[in-house]
Assembly symmetry: C2
Homo-oligomer: 269 residues x 2
């Protein structure tokens, strides 16, 4: 199947998924959409997150993708079931892959989850974890200041270290052995988060795990790319493309072309 995998996010966070898909499935073409004009999604009302997600999916459908990946935890938590119900192609979110990986990793059944306010408020990870394994103890924490830091490209500044330390201090009182990075932006801050939490806590990146689930599902549906031609990926963002392009090129370690998309409906927060 030579159709693309369409990946969407509120901004640059989904690039952590895109990078892993490129690494684990180098023959697959990717179409990426970052809604940078309206990031962050985390603090928005559920109705708005749902509407935005449907709008991006509609935009991506023009390319006839073989799969939609909602590479945003907030959008997955709020809208994945609706999106799945209205499409015939597979729709993959980032919450269940992260939950499954955490269950595989934990030895003491104590799992931490950090995410945006929207994701944590939805209890989507708790629900996913308990649906699979009722004995799991979950502690969840919203970290609303992380996404804006990542969208501004501040991955290693002193301010970022200070914010991460302050945000996670409460979490260190719990006996968790695994911490789900429940937002695709957080792998950009993984080094700092890892050193704050210490070596006894394993960080679970939904990004890596989602890429593997994409591979699993494409294989089981007989939809893996069969061509050996190196795919040319396409990138779209709704905001000013310069910062998006700079972050994307650094993260993916390759030159890319970014097409700006202007939403017809103005965005009023």
């Amino acid at each position: 199947m030579q159709q693309a995998i369409a990946i969407l996010d509120s901004g640059v966070g989904g690039l952590t998924v895109a990078k892993e898909v490129m690494r684990q499935l180098p023959q697959e073409k990717i179409i990426y959409f970052g809604d940078t004009a309206r990031t962050p999604y985390g603090p928005r009302p559920a109705e708005e997150i749902s509407r935005f997600t449907h709008q991006i999916v509609d935009y991506l459908l023009q390319f006839q993708p073989k799969m939609i990946v909602v590479a945003c935890n907030t959008a997955t938590a709020i809208a994945i079931e609706e999106i799945r119900a209205r499409l015939t192609i597979p729709v993959v979110g980032v919450i269940h892959p992260g939950a499954r990986a955490a269950i595989k990793t934990t030895r003491n059944h104590h799992i931490g989850v950090i995410g945006t306010e929207g994701t944590i408020k939805s209890s989507a990870y708790e629900h996913a974890l308990r649906q699979i394994s009722p004995q799991i103890q979950v502690v969840s924490l919203a970290c609303p200041s992380f996404v804006p830091l990542v969208e501004r490209g501040m991955f290693r500044t002193d301010e970022t270290t200070r914010v991460v330390e302050e945000s996670l201090s409460e979490l260190r009182n719990y006996p968790i052995d695994s911490l789900i990075l429940g937002c695709t932006h957080y792998p950009f801050l993984a080094d700092i988060i890892g050193s704050v939490m210490g070596s006894r806590v394993t960080l679970i990146s939904s990004a890596d795990e989602t890429a593997r689930e994409i591979s699993t599902i494409l294989y089981h549906k007989g939809m893996l790319a069969t061509s050996n031609i190196v795919p040319v990926h396409q990138f779209f963002c709704s905001g000013e493309p310069r910062m998006f392009k700079s972050i994307a090129q650094t993260w993916l370690n390759e030159q890319i072309k970014v097409t700006p998309v202007v939403w017809q409906v103005p965005n009023i927060i």
Copy 2:
């Protein structure tokens, strides 16, 4: 869905998958079949492996399982496509999960595979790895003496250490950073294999990864168990059940009941 997951293997090897399914999906009921009367499968002709696998699947279908797991690399390599073609329930093998996990793990694109003669001769891992990522370099090695050691319960003897050292010595000349344990019996010997290969090589257990793929597929098909009742698993083996029971109880760390099954057709090697 309260139906069981049926897991089959040539002997005790598939218990490495069963144990991970119990850990990662504690609500799922398992029906396990070990064909201990006819183990090992590795050196047998493909036609015979295929016939045995179909026969076990037919036996397991009487329990109306919701999924068949071919937890034997040799049987997966030879017969999975045939089994999948004739059933409407999902059929999961152990080769693609292992391949996907190795691709996720490797950083230098050099992957080693060890397995039975049947598995290595089939090139099933090479095919799976290259189908997903053509740039991967694969080195494969058959280790026919490992399965009989495991079926006799010799996990930590001096003889086992000597056999593992001798068998793997050639493999140490290759720059692999990941080694697929391409036989579900091999996790029983993981400690010895790991110390022989050294810390720069990551061992990939298909068992762990298969359990996660089972979780992924059941979730995406809406087939996860929904009851909170602790499931009672069932175990069957075709040979004398005492050794099977002893190994299974030690490995699973729980008491189990084993039902012996006598094949109507005598087995002549």
